[in-house]
């Protein structure tokens, strides 16, 4: 089937198998490989992207379900001139990453969380990132980064 998906503000289109998952469309068709595949079972959150502005796990969404809609990946956050998004900047400054594998998903989940709740408490940040696992167990600085980003943007 043919799908047309606006990804990071640009319209993309391709002929794909009906069973194509959104994460494979992003990585294999568009070559946007920042979105990682971790568990592939809707658990770890490494593949988190925004679908019409809300966080989803792209390993559990069909490309067909995103047809005609807007997807944002971590590649789409920074400005044209490379200026980091406030959430990216906060992860950078607060050292909110260790190996970096979970980071694209963490950042996208954070963007969605702060959109729904611009001034979360630490507890709300931890609950809001329940769907994202960091196997370096670097949660402490990730939470600090989210709180710093909230401070910066609210």
């Amino acid at each position: 089937m043919k799908v047309t998906i606006t990804v990071n503000g640009k319209e993309t289109s391709a002929e794909v198998e009906d069973r194509t998952l959104l994460v494979h469309y992003l990585r294999d068709v568009l070559n946007l490989t920042a979105t990682n595949i971790g568990c592939d079972t809707t658990t770890c959150g490494a593949c988190t992207v925004l679908l019409d502005g809300e966080s989803v796990k792209s390993c559990t969404v069909l490309a067909a379900q995103a047809d005609g809609r807007e997807v944002t990946t971590v590649e789409g956050l920074a400005g044209e001139d490379g200026t980091m998004h406030p959430v990216q900047k906060a992860f950078h400054e607060q050292h909110g990453l260790q190996c970096g594998f979970c980071t694209p998903g963490m950042v996208m989940a954070t963007v969605s969380l702060l959109k729904e709740n611009p001034r979360p408490t630490e507890e709300q940040v931890r609950a809001g990132l329940e769907g994202n696992l960091c196997r370096c167990t670097g949660y402490h600085n990730i939470v600090k980064a989210v709180l710093a980003a909230a401070e910066e943007t609210a």
């Binding site: 494979h24 079972t41 809707t42 959150g45």
Partner: protein, 272 residues
């Protein structure tokens, strides 16, 4: 993992969804948010030949106050339930239970209709609609019918829906008895409940304690005959056959059910 091949068809209306499902018969499955179905398809535990995508039927996504009951469209997402002001006022049990499902990403996709139709004894919402004594509205080729929640869950992953029938609305009566509680015992935040308990007034529902979503009838009967919360809770596992699995043995689940039912009834009483 990628699901086995299937044909994707998108329905633009409820009528078209029912027509498409009728056309493909047993080979077709409805796709709502896909958060129960797609994981099963990736594991080859489900291999439908056709998916009829109903995810764009926005007219099935609503939460409305209908006077004596609240009407909820089957495509209403867990996120919408968990953030609804109407539910906060009228059905706090359902709102709270929806907010404990999975994680924010899952709640952005999963729907109440999909979760109920999936009829998973480990899911949270079936226990909630059982104790709320909801009525489920289904549409099929031969018209609309209403199914009481207590008759909807037939077996593990089997509901009372006929092939080609689409769950369209959940009607939840406003509870006369306001006390409620939802207890969910998990290892990690995003896990399924090892055991869960939903309480509304003197009705008690159980998550993951039998081959299908059930009410704790022994507990309800004990309460009705004047037993104390402590005494009634002791009967939480009576007549039920919980699973033994990697997370817990059947005996552990039975004990957990007795503890959680007691906590649930106490919390509900404190809110009544």
């Amino acid at each position: 993992m990628i699901p086995a091949t299937f044909t994707y068809r998108r329905a633009e209306s409820v009528d078209e969804a029912i027509e498409l499902a009728g056309q493909y018969g047993d080979d077709a499955k409805f796709l709502a948010g896909g958060h129960s179905l797609l994981p099963l398809m990736k594991l080859r535990l489900a291999q439908p030949e056709v998916l009829v995508d109903i995810g764009r039927l926005r007219d099935l996504s609503y939460i409305r106050d209908e006077g004596d009951h609240v009407a909820i469209g089957a495509l209403t997402r867990h996120h919408d339930l968990a953030t609804s002001e109407l539910l906060a006022e009228q059905l706090p049990l359902l709102r709270y239970a929806a907010g404990t499902i999975g994680d924010p990403q899952v709640r952005h996709r999963g729907t109440i209709g999909g979760s109920l139709a999936h009829s998973d004894p480990a899911a949270d919402l079936p226990a909630a609609v059982l104790v709320l004594e909801a009525t489920l509205v289904a549409r099929g080729p031969s018209g609309t019918r209403e199914i009481p929640a207590t008759e909807f869950f037939v077996d593990r992953f089997e509901s009372a829906l006929e092939p080609g029938e689409l769950l369209t609305e959940i009607r939840v009566p406003k509870p006369a008895s306001r006390g409620w509680s939802f207890q969910k015992f998990t290892k990690r935040a995003i896990d399924w409940a090892i055991v869960g308990v939903a309480v509304q007034g003197d009705k008690v529902g159980l998550v993951n304690m039998h081959e299908k979503p059930v009410r704790a009838t022994a507990v309800e009967e004990a309460l009705a005959s004047g037993a104390s919360i402590q005494e009634a809770a002791e009967r939480a596992a009576d007549g039920l056959s919980p699973n033994s699995d990697v997370h817990a043995s059947a005996e552990y689940r039975a004990q957990l059910a007795r503890v959680l039912v007691r906590r649930g009834l106490e919390e509900a009483a404190s809110r009544a």
